[in-house]
Symmetry: D2
Subunit: 354 residues, 4 copies
């Protein structure tokens, strides 16, 4: 398998299966001399961990990150930062019964066909457990970004869609509700929705919005590696993501140029921001904002037909403790990937001028 | 500037400004022994060129591609394929008057701020002229893909949105109409829309849909380089693109898991295809389909305020011959980028097994 | 710090400081379905570990490798192989006294100047301890290489230089002597030499020769990534290496073309092998052989002047347990890097033809 | 074929066969705002071109470089620099007779076996003609290096080996003699040697030494991408190179640590420079110096046995105008590759600190 590295200069490489000994990663390219708040890293990881609220999976995993290198006397040394999260309850379960079963809309079948074998325990490498490593690296990246601020929040759960623009929302409220909406009334509605869905033994999709503020002008490498193209790739690489749009997005496709153009102010800022903070693939100093669509979790607590390795179909039913809706726990993952992208572009921009 | 290379094993690197001597590129990693139909390459380029119909820009540029290396006696030799497209009318124009002007929603300002200077003639490197090189490379990639078939078409112009699923459309009709819709009635409506917009001196956005058929099972590197994540990046790297969704896309975020899951048939195919042909970042053998949103062209034939380098605002009016709607000419570009992504994954997949 | 990854498709990324919690790495791109003999990996590591014989450093480090992912039920799954070697005696020592000292011909000064700070304990990242991770990865690579056989041995210690060609040597003898020569008489002389040098409180350089047999024809990417160029880079990336030559090497520069040319046999093999198994950057099926020059270890048990951070010079004396000659323990490192290079080229070669 | 790109941030990708339409390349990552002296680029190319003196091949090729992009109004814009050198006399020759012949110690056989076909005209991609593109890019890199000065010269032709250290040589004399030695008496002897060899219809190898002065402290990424490891790879990627050593090199392997260590001065410089300006993979501010061994040109004007595609052996005789000794024309190539390496590390170093 290739493709376990993200980034060009600020590089994260991850390893680990859901039920192997550990997951973790190596961050290569983090500048030296950066003070690192390790508590902050753990607190970011806690935002993602299972069992944190009533509307997410009730599995208990402590997800404690252990740094193995690259940080000395509280600061980065410029050497690679190795870290791991030991899988604490990987021995207790028996997954032998799903060894030869391909669950619908999971990666079981494609992994098995591509690789010829797979670690079937808990989804193995295809499990979203891998994203814990991204959150760790994102928490380091955030500390590199200085004033730049990355904030994500849930803006839709199923057909409950918030149309309020981010400027009118209260980001302070995001961590105050279990869904991670930036609007407490909307949060309440979403929470009810998720509970109802769970009661049905079903799951539901959702949308996460993300805003990056205080972005320096000039980030992005404007042909194939446009800033928004890398953001898009980063988001689409998160499990269950089905779509990405930034600035005016799909709605922009319906607009006229005369309305869509962002007219300048004298200081180079713009009056509107249909561009979503990116022009020609380069940040223009305005806020970057984008949306990420997540499909419903594939494991439902209902009977569904699955494919057996021998080519027969048979009924199976999801069991165990799964998320009825992935977006509350995906908020820190979206932020982490956004932070990784921005950190990488900050470093890439340094070689543009002598 | 970094970021002028796309691909991991099938790699395209492009160069060239809109009004420099030439644009072109190098394809490195194309397998040897591939018979190349050079006419086909030119015909793909002709689908993108200006002046091809009444609803696109009336500029005349022959856009003739010249291959300089890598093809010998009609076949690839495995060595890098260098090619160029000479800019034939780059000398005639005088762009000195926009040297110090930053047009709204163009890349003028961000390029100038990032690089400190820029080739201001016709947008320079930020011009969509660069995509001609992508079409050349995509036409080589298509010839590598064998049975795999990449088809793009216009599915929306402004608020005219076709809801017909691709299975019910007639791909044979795409090149029969100037808009490149896969439905002649819809094409007619779109064409009228574009003409009306042009008459207003305005521009309009649109959506291109793309379908990839006969995809082998197993393409994609499933963590950061998921198949759909690379498709997303590739599409978002095209000028004017604001959004990307595949399979159920943003609509999938509103669905329940029980409805969204694609149940298997005994042969491993699925009854539905909400997954858009990709599960866990790996192709599952079903059709891949996705949508790409394009914003309206920023150059409108109306007065708009522009920013001067000295920090003053002044009125300017677009002149020259520009596209009122970019999607008809962007269809071959979407196909080209999709073909490049698929060609790269075909090669990457080869190292998965000994 | 960038540059902690080696390889294009078979990729090793390493992390870890000499006295941090652990060192380790991630191998990404190892094909799936490969049976892995974990004992073999540990046995390779044991060939490199300190304290294994009387002529190497007497430090005791068990260097036990722990695999964290990527191997399931005895086989690679195609997912990244994470591994670590816990640093067991890193807490016992106090390095505070060398915190502000730059030892001559060490990396202390350059690291400090480049990064602004450093983990000074035991050389930190610049310690050759990092190469243990390479040996682990090399032992995986060797198991991927099938019939290809990589054998290194000591061919010079100081001015004791063996001129016997590898064909006349007995590779079976290499692990039978502490110096790892392929000739027991020569081994005896080298061992005496090293003991004498150690008695002087001094160190001595040496040369390692390496032979790769049963090489398939066609490995190597022949412009910048010529097979021998990557071998050279890989060897020069090992601590203390000062030179690399393959085939006829520097002696070849003194030869005439008529004598240097390797005339063909009818089966495509060659009568002589001045080319060292590589022609035009591509393996020709003959044995690959090369030499690697190592400088003497910089830490001598004699008084030497060192630079203090405050710009003063002061006398220091090496203490602790260091190698008087690095080549005996470097033999498995040379083999490991050679195996990594070959494994990478085996995978790269797969995309040359459809 | 992969491997046609050199560099990480300052990247050169080349294309072109000896007798195709053109050779050339794209430099991506050159910083913006750099004033470029195009005459200097051409003058560097002229140092490499055939026919420049009596002791090199008498072929006449003007080798005029044409820049296609990336330089505007005399300065780099930060966009990729595309360039080409048209092959002017590629049509006149008929190579059909060697189509099925594999010359000894050429790349004919390995290319043919690896790729299944090849452009056999004049060696095609394996011809050293490719290095002209490197010289162009190197001449751009040199202009980026500011005070850093890269100087190469011939230090051996066959068994004529100059032992004078570079500090005692007169670099001003290098371009004053046809061999490009830095010592006119030695140059005279080498010239006689080359003429005598040519008279025999034979060829001879040689050594090029290279010195880089005014190197800033801190360049190099010290694990796999050590400064000297990249220099080694870059040199070994040049056609006909068999070995590389830097600083004390192979001679250093015979030394004791007490003699080899470079003791510091108070300002961080060192009293001796066995390290060759690199410690732990990072430049220490002292001069970098290294040697590159070239084998004799394989095409001799004598009868030699060649392999036919059908597996038979037959006599052939080199004809045409070839170099009796490659080193005089390789001097600018060594410099170019060294400049590319240093330019890349200058840019890479920028991301080490925020």
């Amino acid at each position: 398998m290739a493709g376990n590295t993200y980034g060009t200069l600020f590089k994260l490489t991850t390893f680990g299966e859901s039920h192997g000994k550990a997951i973790g990663g190596i961050i290569d390219g983090c500048p030296s001399g950066l003070e690192i708040d390790l508590q902050f890293v753990q607190s970011e990881l806690d935002r993602r961990k299972p069992g944190q609220s009533k509307i997410v999976t009730q599995r208990k995993e402590p997800d404690t990150v252990d740094f193995l290198s690259g940080i000395f006397e509280g600061k980065t040394t410029g050497t690679p930062i190795g870290f791991e999260i030991v899988n604490t309850n990987q021995k207790s379960k028996d997954y032998a019964h799903i060894k030869d079963t391909f669950r619908p809309s999971h990666a079981d079948y494609t992994y098995d066909q591509k690789y010829g074998n797979r670690d079937y325990r808990g989804g193995g490498r295809s499990s979203a457990r891998e994203t814990a490593s991204r959150v760790v690296a994102g928490a380091i990246a955030k500390q590199m970004l200085g004033d730049m601020k990355v904030t994500a929040y849930v803006s839709a759960v199923g057909d409950l869609v918030s149309e309020i623009s981010y400027q009118e929302l209260d980001f302070g409220c995001i961590e105050q509700n279990d869904v991670r909406c930036a609007d407490s009334a909307f949060a309440k509605a979403c929470e009810e929705k998720i509970k109802a869905i769970r009661k049905e033994g079903d799951t539901i999709g959702g949308v996460i919005s993300c805003v990056i503020q205080n972005v320096p002008l000039g980030l992005g490498e404007p042909v194939f590696d446009k800033l928004h193209a890398e953001l898009g790739k980063a988001m689409l690489s998160i499990n269950a993501v089905k779509g990405f749009e930034y600035g005016s997005g799909f709605a922009g496709a319906q607009m006229k140029g005369s309305a869509h153009n962002d007219l300048f102010n004298e200081d180079g800022s713009t009056q509107s921001n249909q561009s979503g903070g990116v022009q020609g693939g380069i940040s223009n100093g305005m806020d970057i904002y984008f949306k990420v669509a997540f499909k419903p979790v594939a494991t439902v607590m209902q009977k569904q037909t699955a494919l057996q390795k021998d080519g027969t179909l048979s009924e199976m039913q999801g069991k165990g403790r799964h998320d009825p809706c992935v977006v509350p726990r995906a908020v820190p993952i979206v932020e982490a990937m956004a932070a990784l992208v921005m950190a990488d572009f900050v470093l890439r921009d340094k070689s543009v001028r002598l």
